[in-house]
Symmetry: C2
C-alpha cells in the first residue's frame, strides 16, 4: 500500500521526537501498519532554530495553514499546544476532511465537544492518546480494552512534575520549594509551574478521562482542582507514620446522582500499587465492574513517550481510514447520540475520608476538644496522633484521620474548629482514598 | 444497527460470566458499540447442569457444531478450552466465515499459526485478548498502543496461582506445599496444579506475548519453562535480605542473534513496581524503545475479568466487521508477510544474573573455595551472604548473588561446585533480573 502522508504542525520537542521515532522505527512500524508513515510537510514558526532531528526530504513551512492545505497531506498532527491558534487549525484540517492526531490536552478538554462534532460531520477521526499520560495507552485501554465494563471509578497520577515533587519530599524530606526547584533543574517543571503544581494540567487530563470513562460530554469547568503547594514535609511524614503516602491524584467516580471529578493531593495506603509510582512516572488505576481494579503505568511526558502515543494514533488512523465511520471507536468511547447528561457533583458532595493537621496549644484537653467538635459534627475518627512537639514549644501538631463523610459535613466541622481559641493558624485538610486495592 | 448475533461454545464459569456481563451491562455496551451484542445460541455438553446464569431466550444445543452452523450466528466465542475439539471447532467456524473470539491460550500458543492463516484465507478475525492475563488489555496494548515502539523486552506475572503461592510464602513464611494447598482451597489452583506451578500455563501465554511483541510466528516449543516447586522458604527470606522478591515471570527479550523466551522463578528488586504485585493478580511490564517501561496490571483469571476481555473482543470485532481486511490489526501485530524468522535462543545463551544457594560445611575457607570456582569461571559476585546456621549444625547455607553472565558459563561453574567435597545436596539456582526500572 502507498505510504500515509502526514503533515505536522509544530516542531518542538515532541515534534522532533515523532520525526526521530519514525526515522528509527519506520521499517518496523510499516511491518505493523502495512504501509509506511511518511511525515512529508511540517510547520515551524522560526525556521532558523535547531530542532534535534533531520529534516531532509521534508517540506518545512512557516505557516501551519500551508501544511493543512497541502493537498498531499492526509493526516494532520497538531503539536503546537495551547488553545489558539491550535483550535482554529484543527478545525481547518477537519473541514478539509483530514484526520487529526493531537497531543493537546487543554484543547481537547476545553473544546473537544465542538471538535469531535465537526469531525463527525466531516467523516474524520481526531485521535488524542498523547493528550493523557504520555506514552501510556490509557485512552485505548478505557475506550476499547474495558469496553465490557461499567467503569466505577478511576484515579490517576497524571502530572509527572507533581509526582516528582511529592516523591522528593517523601524520599529526601525536601520542602515543596526545594523539590520544585529540583524539578525545574531537571526540566520537568516549566519556569511558570502553575499548570503542573496547581493541578490545571491534571484537570485537563481528568476531564478527558472522566468523559471517556462515563460517556459524558467534556466539561473542564466541572473539575474541582487543588494543587500541592500547601503540602508540608510534616504532612508527608505524618501520612507515612499512619501507613499512607501523599499523591496528587485525578479522581473520577460514578455516584448515584452524578459523577465526582476532582484533582487534589490525596493520602492513599502505602500498600496500594499506585503508591509505589515514583518520580515523574504516571499511572492510572481504573476500576471496572467486571475487570475489578486495573492499572496502567508509564512515562507521562517527554519527547519519545509522547511520540510513542502519537505514532500509535497514526497507525490507528491508518486502520480506521477504510472503516465505515459508524463503526469507528467513538471519540468519547460512547456513541455521540448516547452520551449521558449526568451532572458533575460539586465538591461539597464528595464523600471521602480526611486527614487533618492543625497547630494547637500543647496542654491536656485540647485533643479532646477538637475530637468533640468532630464527633458532634457526625465525623468518626479512625486515628488521632499527637506528635511530640519540639522542646519548649507552646503549641503542637494534632493529626486526625477520619472515616469517610460528605465534604460539606467536614467543611462545617472545620469552620467550628477554626473558631476554637486553642487552635491557631490554618488547618491542613487532605482527602484520603483507600482505592479498594490490596 | 441490528444486534450482533453471537454463538458461544462452552458454558462453564467464563461462559456464564459472559452471559451475566452482557445481561448486566448490555445497555452500556450498546451505547459504546453502536449495536447490541446478543448471545443467541450456546452449546453445553451436559444440559442438565446448573450454570449460574439465565438462559431464557437462548437456544441451547448439546453439540457445538449446531451453534457454529446456525446461519444466524455471525461470531463464535470458543470457551471449551484444551486442544481438541476446540481446534477443529474454531477451524470449522472460520471456514463458515464467522469471526472467532477465544480465551484458549493453549490452542493459540500451539495452533495459532494455522488458525490465523485459515482466518486470513476466509477474511475473518480471530480475537484472543482473554487468552493472556485475563482482564488486562495487554494484547491490545502491545499490538496497538505501543505500535510505534520496537519492543525490547517484556516480563510478566502471568499465572495468578504461582503468584499467589509466592506471595503466601513471603508474607506468611509458608512452605510451597502449604501455600499450594491454600491456593487450592481458594479455587485458584486446579486439583492437578502442574500447568500452573510447573509453568506450562505461563509458557502458553509467553508464547503469545513474545510473538506479538517481536512479530514472529508462535512457537511454544521454543519456550524454556521452569516452575516454582523447588523454591524454599529460605530462598524467599534470603532474597528479601538482599533487597529482592521472588516472582514467577515470563520473560521475552530481544537479543542480537535471536530472542529469549523463558518462564522461571526470578529475583527482582523489591523496589520495582512489579515486585509489589501481590496474590493472584497479574501484571506485564513492557519495555519499548520509545515509551520506556510501561506496566499493565489487573486480574488474570476469574469469570468476570475474563468475560471483560471476551466482551471487549466482541466489540472490537463489531468494529472490524466492515473494515477492509487488509486494514485490520494483524493477528500477530505485524503483517503476516512481514513476520520475522529470528530464532529463539536456547536457555544456555540467556544472559542474567544469578542467585545461588547451597549447603556447605560450616568452617572457614569454604566460602572462599566456592567464590574461587566462580571467579575462575569468569563470574563476578555482587554479594555473598553466609547466614548463621542453626546452633550445632555442621553445615550452613551459602548464598551468592552474581553479576550477569551467559547461562552456559554458570552451568559450567555449577558443575564444578557440585564436585566440591565441602558442598553437599542440590545447589539452588534462581535467575535475577533488574528490569531496569527504578
Amino acid at each position: 500500500m502507498k505510504p500515509l502522508r502526514v503533515g505536522m504542525l509544530g516542531l518542538g520537542t515532541v515534534g522532533a521526537g515523532v520525526i526521530n521515532l519514525l526515522a528509527r522505527n519506520g521499517a518496523e512500524i510499516a511491518r505493523r501498519a502495512g504501509r509506511a508513515i511518511d511525515i512529508m510537510h511540517v510547520s515551524a514558526r522560526d525556521l532558523s532554530k535547531p530542532r534535534g532531528c533531520a529534516l531532509d526530504g521534508l517540506t518545512v513551512s512557516a505557516h501551519a495553514e500551508a501544511v493543512i492545505d497541502d493537498p498531499e497531506v492526509e493526516i494532520v498532527v497538531e503539536l503546537i499546544g495551547g488553545i489558539e491558534p491550535a483550535r482554529e487549525l484543527v478545525l481547518r484540517a477537519i473541514e478539509r476532511r483530514k484526520h487529526v492526531v493531537t497531543a493537546n490536552k487543554a484543547l481537547i478538554a476545553l473544546h473537544g465537544n465542538a471538535i469531535f462534532a465537526a469531525a463527525r460531520e466531516h467523516g474524520v477521526v481526531v485521535a488524542f492518546e498523547a493528550a493523557v499520560a504520555g506514552g501510556i495507552p490509557i485512552i485505548k485501554a478505557i475506550r476499547e480494552g474495558l469496553a465490557g465494563n461499567r467503569i466505577e471509578w478511576l484515579a490517576g497520577i497524571i502530572n509527572g512534575t507533581s509526582n516528582y515533587i511529592l516523591t522528593e519530599m517523601r524520599e529526601r524530606g525536601a520542602s515543596f520549594g526545594d523539590a520544585l526547584a529540583a524539578a525545574q533543574r531537571l526540566g520537568y517543571a516549566e519556569a511558570d509551574p502553575g499548570f503542573d503544581v496547581g493541578g490545571i494540567d491534571a484537570a485537563h487530563k481528568l476531564t478527558i478521562l472522566g468523559a471517556i470513562a462515563f460517556g459524558k460530554p467534556l466539561r473542564f469547568a466541572g473539575v474541582y482542582t487543588e494543587g500541592i503547594a500547601a503540602i508540608e514535609p510534616d504532612d508527608v511524614r505524618y501520612a507515612e507514620q499512619l501507613g499512607y503516602r501523599i499523591k496528587h491524584l485525578g479522581i473520577a467516580r460514578r455516584r448515584d446522582l452524578g459523577v465526582e471529578l476532582r484533582v487534589h493531593p490525596t493520602l492513599i495506603p502505602e500498600r496500594s500499587l499506585i503508591a509505589s509510582v515514583h518520580g515523574a512516572m504516571n499511572a492510572v488505576l481504573v476500576h471496572g465492574d467486571a475487570v475489578g481494579p486495573s492499572l496502567y503505568y508509564g512515562a507521562g511526558a517527554g519527547a519519545e513517550p509522547t511520540a510513542s502515543a502519537v505514532v500509535a494514533d497514526l497507525v490507528d488512523v491508518v486502520r480506521a481510514h477504510t472503516t465505515d465511520p459508524d463503526n469507528r471507536v467513538p471519540h468519547l468511547a460512547f456513541q455521540p447520540d448516547a452520551l449521558s447528561q449526568m451532572p458533575v457533583l460539586p465538591i461539597s458532595e464528595a464523600h471521602t475520608a480526611y486527614y487533618l493537621r492543625m497547630l494547637a496549644d500543647d496542654r491536656p484537653g485540647v485533643l479532646a476538644e477538637v475530637a468533640t467538635v468532630l464527633g458532634e459534627s457526625g465525623i468518626s475518627l479512625q486515628a488521632v496522633v499527637q506528635p511530640e512537639p519540639p522542646h519548649g514549644a507552646a503549641r503542637a501538631n494534632l493529626v486526625f484521620l477520619s472515616y469517610p463523610v460528605r465534604e460539606a459535613q467536614m467543611d462545617a466541622a472545620l469552620a467550628r474548629i477554626r473558631e476554637l481559641d486553642t487552635v491557631s493558624g490554618p488547618v491542613t485538610r487532605i482527602r484520603v482514598e483507600h482505592l479498594d486495592v490490596a
